[in-house]
C-alpha cells in the first residue's frame, strides 16, 4: 500500500429526478449521493458502509459510469479523478466510448450473483467479454486465460462451458470475480460482493479477494453493510448516511472508536456472538431513516441524533479530524 492516490471523488453528487403529476414534470429530486469527497489510495482497500438506501451502491456504480447508462436522466456533479502515470482524468466527463480504455483498469463485482451473470451465456462467454473487448488475443489464448482465471478463482477450468444456473451462489460470485480479474485491472469496485452469500461462503469469497489483492496488487473499493466483514478486509472505512459521508478513517479507529453518533449506532447494532459480553453500551436509534426525497436540513442525521444541538438543523457539519485519527462530520464529538 502506498499513499499514491488512485481514485479521488471530489464533491460527487448523484441525483435522480422524480417525475410526477399529469404532465410528468419534475416534482423533486433524490440526491442519492450528496457532496462526497474521498480518496482511494493505490493498493488499499476502502470499505464503504451504511444502511440500505444510503447511496453506497450508487457511488460504486457512478465510478464505472454505469449509473448514467442504466438510468438515463440522472444528474451527476463533481469529479471522479482517476490517477494514471500521465496525470489524472475526470471519469465523469467521459462517454461510453471514451470510457472504454479505463474500463480495462477499473472493474466491478456485483452484489447479486444470480442477476449479474447473463443466464443465456456460458461461463466462458461471460468471462470472455472483457478479454474480447480489451485485448487482441486470439480465441485460443483467451480460452487458456479463462481456464486459468477460473482455476485461480477456485473453480474448475472445465466449467468453461457451463451455464450460471448450474452453480451455487458462492461459485457464481467466483465467476463474477474471474470476470472482473480477466484484464488485470488496477481497481476493483466491489458492490456488496458477499451480502447475498451465506456466512461460510462469505469467508471463502473474502479470503479469495484478499489473496488476489496480494497477488495482483489490486485496489478495492469494498461496499458493504456488514461492518465486521468490512473491518476484516478494509484498511480504511468510510461511513455513509443519507448520501453523506459522516466518518472516514483507519479501519481499527472507526471500528473500535467510532466518533460520529451515527457510526456509533451502526456499530452497536453489530451482533455480538459472545453472550457474556455486556450489552449495556448498545445504542439504538429512534425513528425511521428520513425519506431521501425530503432530507433534513443542516446535518442530515439531526432528526435521529442522541446528542443533537439546536444549530444542527441549520449548519451542515464538515468532516473534521478527531483525536483517534479519523475524520467525522460532527462538531460535538
Amino acid at each position: 500500500m502506498s499513499d499514491q492516490p488512485l481514485l479521488e471523488l471530489r464533491n460527487l453528487v448523484v441525483s435522480y429526478a422524480v417525475w410526477g403529476g399529469v404532465f410528468r414534470h419534475k416534482v423533486g429530486e433524490i440526491r442519492a449521493v450528496d457532496d462526497i469527497s474521498l480518496t482511494l489510495r493505490s493498493g488499499e482497500t476502502l470499505g464503504l458502509v451504511g444502511e440500505s438506501g444510503c447511496g453506497k451502491s450508487t457511488v460504486a456504480k457512478t465510478i464505472l459510469n454505469v449509473v448514467r447508462e442504466m438510468a438515463p436522466g440522472v444528474e451527476l456533479g463533481g469529479e471522479i479523478r482517476y490517477h494514471r502515470e500521465r496525470g489524472a482524468v475526470n471519469l465523469l466527463e467521459l462517454r461510453q466510448r471514451a470510457m472504454r480504455p479505463f474500463r480495462r483498469e477499473i472493474q466491478m463485482i456485483f452484489q447479486d450473483p444470480f442477476a449479474s451473470l447473463n443466464p443465456r451465456q456460458t461461463v466462458g462467454q461471460i468471462v470472455d467479454a472483457p478479454l474480447r473487448i480489451h485485448t487482441n488475443q486470439t480465441a485460443k489464448e483467451r480460452r487458456e486465460r479463462i481456464r486459468w482465471l477460473l482455476e485461480r478463482c477456485g473453480l474448475q477450468g472445465s466449467y468453461i462451458g457451463r451455464y450460471p444456473h448450474e452453480f451455487s451462489g458462492g461459485q457464481r460470485q467466483r465467476i463474477g470475480i474471474a470476470r472482473a480479474l480477466a484484464v488485470n485491472p488496477k481497481l476493483i469496485v466491489a458492490d456488496e460482493p458477499v451480502s447475498a452469500l451465506d456466512v461460510s461462503v462469505q469467508a471463502q469469497v473474502i479470503n479469495l479477494m484478499q489473496d488476489l489483492q496480494d497477488e495482483f496488487g489490486l485496489t478495492y473499493l469494498f461496499v458493504a453493510h456488514d461492518l465486521s466483514v468490512v473491518h476484516h478486509i478494509a484498511d480504511r472505512i468510510a461511513v455513509m448516511y443519507l448520501g453523506k459521508l459522516v466518518e472516514i478513517g483507519e479501519a481499527d479507529a472507526v471500528y473500535h472508536h467510532p466518533k460520529h453518533p451515527y457510526s456509533k449506532a451502526l456499530l452497536s447494532a453489530v451482533p455480538q456472538p459472545d453472550p457474556n459480553r455486556s450489552r449495556a453500551k448498545r445504542q439504538l436509534l429512534e425513528g425511521e431513516i428520513p425519506s431521501p426525497l425530503n432530507k433534513p436540513s443542516g446535518c442530515v442525521f439531526h432528526t435521529r441524533c442522541p446528542i443533537a444541538e439546536p444549530d444542527c438543523s441549520i449548519k451542515v457539519p464538515p468532516l473534521e479530524p478527531k483525536e483517534s485519527g479519523q475524520e467525522a462530520a460532527c462538531p460535538y464529538v
Partner: protein, 372 residues
C-alpha cells in the same frame, strides 16, 4: 488453491436446450408439432398426390414425367381438342405455372386405355387440380361426396378435398409470413422503446396506442377493396395492423431486463449498445414472444378465413377455407361445403393450440405450476 468439490454433476445444458428437452417431453404438444410440421412440409409435394398432371406417361415405349416438366400436347400424338388443357399457348394455370397447351392427362388416360397398345398414364392418387372443374356428373354442382370426389365438390365442381389440402398450405404459409413480419416489427419497436426509455418510450407508446385503436377489420376491408388483393399485400396489411400486441410484451421485458445487474456488468465491462441489446437483453426477453407465437398463428389463420369468408381475402380462384364456408352459406342445403372446411380448420387450429400449450409449459420457469 483448492477446487470446490460440489461441481454440477450432469452435463452442461443451456436454457434453450433444457426447454427443448422439456418440450419434447410434453407428448401431446410435441406430437402435434411433428404432425403439423410434417403435414406442412409434405404439402409442398401436393401436386404429386392431388393434381391433374400425370406422374408418369408411357407412350411409344418412351417415359415422360409431366409432374416435373410440361410437355406440349401433341407429344402424345393427339390432335383432339378435347384432350388438351389450354386453348392457347403460354397460358398459365391458377398456380402461376405455364401450361404450354398440355394434354388433359385424365382424358389421355382414358384414350390410352381404350387403344390398349401398351401406352399408359399414371395419375396422382386424387387426379384433380385445385381449380379443376369436374362438371361431368348429373345435375348442377355442388356435388355431394362420392367415390370420385371424396368430400364432394364446391359450387363450381372443384374437388373439396383437394381445395382443402391446397388451402391448408396457403393458410399456414400466410399465417407464418404474417406472424413473422409482425413479430419482427413488434420486437424491433418494443425493444427500442424499452431500451431507450424516457421520451422515446413516451412518444412511441402513444403512437402504438393510436395505431392499435384503428379498427383492424374495416381497414383491411377498405384497403383490400381498393388495392389488388395479392398474397403479399394481404400479408402486409395484416402485419401492419398486427404487430402492436407483441410490442407491449417486448417493451416490458426489455425494460425489466435492462435494469438487471448483468446489463450493468456488460456496461461496466465496456460493451456497446448493439452488443448489449443483441447479446444480453434480447435473448432474455424473447420468452413471451415464443410462447405467444403459436397463438398468433392461430389468430392469423382465423383472420385469413374470416377475410376469405367475407370475400375480401385472397383473390379467386385461390383455394381457401373461408371461401368454401362462404359458399356453404349460399348453398345452405349442401352440408359438406360447411362441415369439411370447418373440420379442417378445427383440426389445424387444435394442433397449433396443443403446440402453444406445450411451448408455454416448456418455457414456464415454475415447474410446479404446470397445467396437467
Amino acid at each position: 488453491m483448492k477446487t470446490l468439490s460440489d461441481a454440477p454433476s450432469e452435463p452442461s445444458e443451456s436454457l434453450l436446450k433444457r426447454r427443448l428437452r422439456r418440450f419434447r417431453g410434453l407428448r401431446r404438444g410435441y406430437y402435434s408439432f411433428l404432425i403439423l410440421v410434417t403435414a406442412y412440409l409434405l404439402s409442398f409435394g401436393l401436386p404429386f398426390v392431388m393434381g391433374r398432371q400425370a406422374l408418369v406417361v408411357h407412350y411409344d415405349s418412351q417415359w415422360y414425367f409431366p409432374a416435373f416438366r410440361s410437355y406440349f400436347y401433341n407429344t402424345f400424338g393427339i390432335g383432339n381438342r378435347g384432350l388438351y388443357l389450354a386453348k392457347t399457348f403460354e397460358q398459365t394455370d391458377a398456380e402461376g405455372k405455364r401450361v404450354l397447351g398440355q394434354a388433359d392427362y385424365a382424358a389421355l388416360k382414358k384414350q390410352f386405355a381404350k387403344q390398349d397398345n401398351g401406352n399408359f398414364v399414371l395419375m396422382p392418387l386424387i387426379p384433380f387440380g385445385p381449380n379443376q372443374q369436374s362438371l361431368d356428373q348429373k345435375g348442377n354442382p355442388p356435388y355431394p361426396p362420392s367415390w370420385q370426389h371424396w368430400l364432394g365438390t364446391d359450387d363450381r365442381g372443384r374437388d373439396i378435398l383437394v381445395r382443402l389440402a391446397y388451402g391448408f398450405r396457403i393458410s399456414i404459409s400466410f399465417a407464418l409470413v404474417v406472424t413473422g413480419i409482425s413479430y419482427m416489427v413488434g420486437i424491433a419497436v418494443g425493444a427500442t422503446l424499452g431500451y431507450y426509455g424516457r421520451w422515446v418510450d413516451m412518444l412511441g407508446l402513444r403512437f402504438v396506442e393510436i395505431w392499435g385503436s384503428i379498427p383492424f377489420l374495416y381497414t383491411v376491408i377498405i384497403l383490400a377493396s381498393l388495392l389488388p388483393r395479392t398474397f403479399g399485400l394481404l400479408a402486409g396489411i395484416l402485419a401492419t395492423f398486427g404487430w402492436m400486441g407483441i410490442t407491449y410484451y417486448i417493451r416490458g421485458e426489455v425494460y425489466r431486463e435492462r435494469s438487471k445487474d448483468y446489463v450493468a456488468a456488460a456496461i461496466a465491462v465496456g460493451e456497446g449498445h448493439t452488443s448489449i441489446i443483441f447479446r444480453h437483453i434480447l435473448p432474455n426477453s424473447l420468452t413471451p414472444v415464443i410462447s405467444f407465437a403459436p397463438f398468433a398463428i392461430v389468430a392469423n389463420i382465423t383472420s385469413l378465413v374470416a377475410l376469405d369468408f367475407l370475400g375480401y381475402g385472397l383473390p379467386p380462384p385461390t383455394p381457401s377455407w373461408g371461401e368454401l364456408i362462404g359458399q356453404g352459406k349460399e348453398n345452405i342445403r349442401d352440408w359438406h361445403l360447411v362441415v369439411f372446411p370447418l373440420v379442417a380448420m378445427f383440426l389445424t387450429l387444435q394442433l397449433i393450440v396443443f403446440i402453444g400449450e406445450a411451448v408455454r409449459e416448456a418455457l414456464d420457469p415454475k415447474t410446479y405450476s404446470r397445467l396437467r
